[in-house]
């Protein structure tokens, strides 16, 4: 390959970028699908929304791959869970994505976990304990009340980033708040039979859901967060059920169902798959569907 051929190839690569410089809608980079769905509620067609992960991926495990770097580069606002859920790849995107709009402290940087009270903040940190999150349990999307806090802050940030459409964001926020309040009331009424029900978690993924609905966790299949359970630990949990029985085993759609199914078979209680986030199961295309299906699954197993 000659030097001029090499330079020619570089120019060829640069061409498409020169052609796509036209200004488009305000771009939102969401780390998880639930925040992408929330941005859809607040911004509608005024936003171009990119979700870095899908419901079938573990948001703790993905890599800072080329498409994420490209999406990060173009975004005007970032909305993520935070609390170190994205610690493996978000810092890498920050360094490689060359985007001054997405920096902590700027209006374009929104970590929802910084807005809410975190549960399970560890007393001591030791990696022998598995995937320990120093800032607390990051799976905050299982309590619908968190979306009210997040929506309010997101609308405020969008108005800062894109003042021309501030009115639209405010109107859509008010509309969402009205519908969401009504939905929460209805869900809480439906969920009354679940209060006080003892359950088993496959992963420590549902503390916020339990607090909201008053479910009681009696055991976890994973002895250490993020590390698949051993046969010995499953046996211990099974033994424990004799003195502290549970009604069901809950696992997230993106997780390996085998440990939960093994326990269901041996303990004679149902294993319940929960969508966990938007797109996790059929009927969960938006935030309302996410909680509808979650309640459907829980109530069906409880009756």
């Amino acid at each position: 390959m000659s030097r001029s051929m090499f330079l020619g190839a570089l120019l060829l690569l640069a061409l498409p970028s020169a052609m796509s410089n036209a200004q488009a809608a305000t771009r939102v980079f969401a780390c998880e699908p639930e925040w992408a769905a929330l941005a859809g509620e607040i911004g509608g067609d005024a936003l171009e929304i990119y979700s870095a992960t899908t419901a079938l991926q573990d948001p703790h495990r993905i890599q800072a791959r080329p498409s994420l770097i490209a999406a990060y580069r173009r975004a005007d606002l970032l909305i993520c869970t935070g609390a170190e859920l994205e610690i493996g790849w978000l810092p890498a995107l920050q360094r490689k994505g060359n985007n001054p709009r997405l920096q902590p402290g700027k209006p374009g940087w929104l970590e929802v976990s910084s807005l809410i009270e975190m549960l399970e903040v560890p007393q001591s940190l030791d990696r022998a304990g598995g995937d320990v999150h120093p800032a607390g349990n990051p799976h905050i999307q299982t309590d619908p009340r968190h979306f009210l806090v997040a929506a309010q802050e997101l609308a405020a940030r969008l108005a800062q980033v894109d003042p021309a459409q501030a009115d639209l964001y405010r109107e859509r926020l008010e509309d969402f708040q009205r519908r969401w309040h009504a939905a929460i009331t209805q869900w809480q009424t439906r969920a009354a039979p679940l209060r006080g029900l003892p359950v088993i978690s496959a992963h420590r993924g549902f503390p916020y859901l339990y607090r909201w609905l008053g479910l009681e966790r009696v055991a976890t299949l994973e002895a250490r967060p993020g590390i698949p359970p051993s046969a010995g630990h499953l046996q211990t949990v099974l033994e424990g059920l004799k003195s502290r029985p549970a009604h069901m085993i809950l696992y997230a759609a993106y997780q390996n169902a085998r440990p939960a199914q093994w326990m269901a078979e041996h303990a004679g209680i149902p294993a319940v798959k929960l969508p966990y986030t938007v797109g996790g199961m059929a009927g969960t295309d938006d935030l309302f569907g996410l909680f509808e299906v979650t309640l459907d699954q829980l109530l069906a197993a409880a009756s």
Binding site: S17, R61, P66, S67, A70, R73, R74, P134, P228
Partner: protein, 398 residues
Amino acid sequence: MNHFAYVALAGALMASSPLLAAPATKSFNPKISLIMSAQYADYSAGSEAEVAGVALGPETELKPEGMALGEAELVLEANIDQHFHGWSTIALENEDGETVVAVEEAYIDTLAMPAGLALKFGRFLSDIGYHNRQHAHAWDFVDAPLAYRSLLANRYADDGLQVRWLAPTPVLLELGAEVMRGDGFPAGGEARSGIKAWTAFAHLGGDVGNGGAWRLGLGYLDADALDRRSGEEQELGFSGSSTLRLLDAVYKWAPAGDARERNFSFQAGYLQRRESGELSDDPDGADQRSNYTGSQDAYYLQAVYQFMRGWRLGLRYDRLSTDNQLDNPAPDTTLATVANAAGETPRRSSLMLDYSPSEFSRLRLQYNRDASRPGGEKDDQLLLQASFSLGAHPAHQF
């Protein structure tokens, strides 16, 4: 101070750091990690590990036979302020029974430049190739591809300035260039001023299908060498110009993009080095000189498959060919090694199995069928490696 004293020192540093006592994101302290490896190596061939047709650069010798503590690397990293991010890698190595401390990388990069631009300055691994940018502990095999080992002394790192531009496109398009001091192999030389090496690179990448991601890279390195040392005893000096062209491709896949249980990655690289200038061989002051025109082409192909959580199986193939012209291939000198390789094709096949109980530890077994020595001498190489990372959470680089 020996290795263990450094390890203890770093351990004490981490234990006293608030990093582990408070949420890392809520503290202003740097992320600290100490990366250690221990290994066992066995080689069936007893001869020097030369490669036909090239004089190997510094620090390219095989890992010592038997049990050995590998390199220990101390990494410190933090956002310095709203504009800068800093990274340093301090390596502690064993060299002839002595512990050597080396600043492998120490650089600052910008976080808030406009228009998709970023600058990096200090000492860093060049972005000319996908494998060049990876730290040794992130490699998929115990050793570097033969192409990198032979033509770049494992990787090209130097002191300099890098500028990168990221296009505002849905597909990743990154263009960059570096101007360098010219100290790192294949540049090299003492007491010089100015810019003695420069690079240019382009990266293109995106997603494909359900759970696939790819990246193509193109790199160019133009280096000026003044008495650059290479060879077993660093007895060979080279003065002249060295250029390198590089093409690589990476493809990764996981079911629905979820890599926890199963995933696959494929990597291929092609390196082409052209050199012209003068070689001098002076092991004992007996100086032999030769005009030299060098042409070396090398490629590697590798595939790694994670077949169940934590367990990965890898295959790699390396090949090199050379066509060098020397007007004085003095017998029994490194000049002859470089000259007399026409028709030889140094190559190597590798098989790797590793197990990672967590993101912080890994055990690896590797077998190389090596035929890279002059004359095609075969070497069965068995390598066992344990790597550990203490401290901060590692980044999931693509």
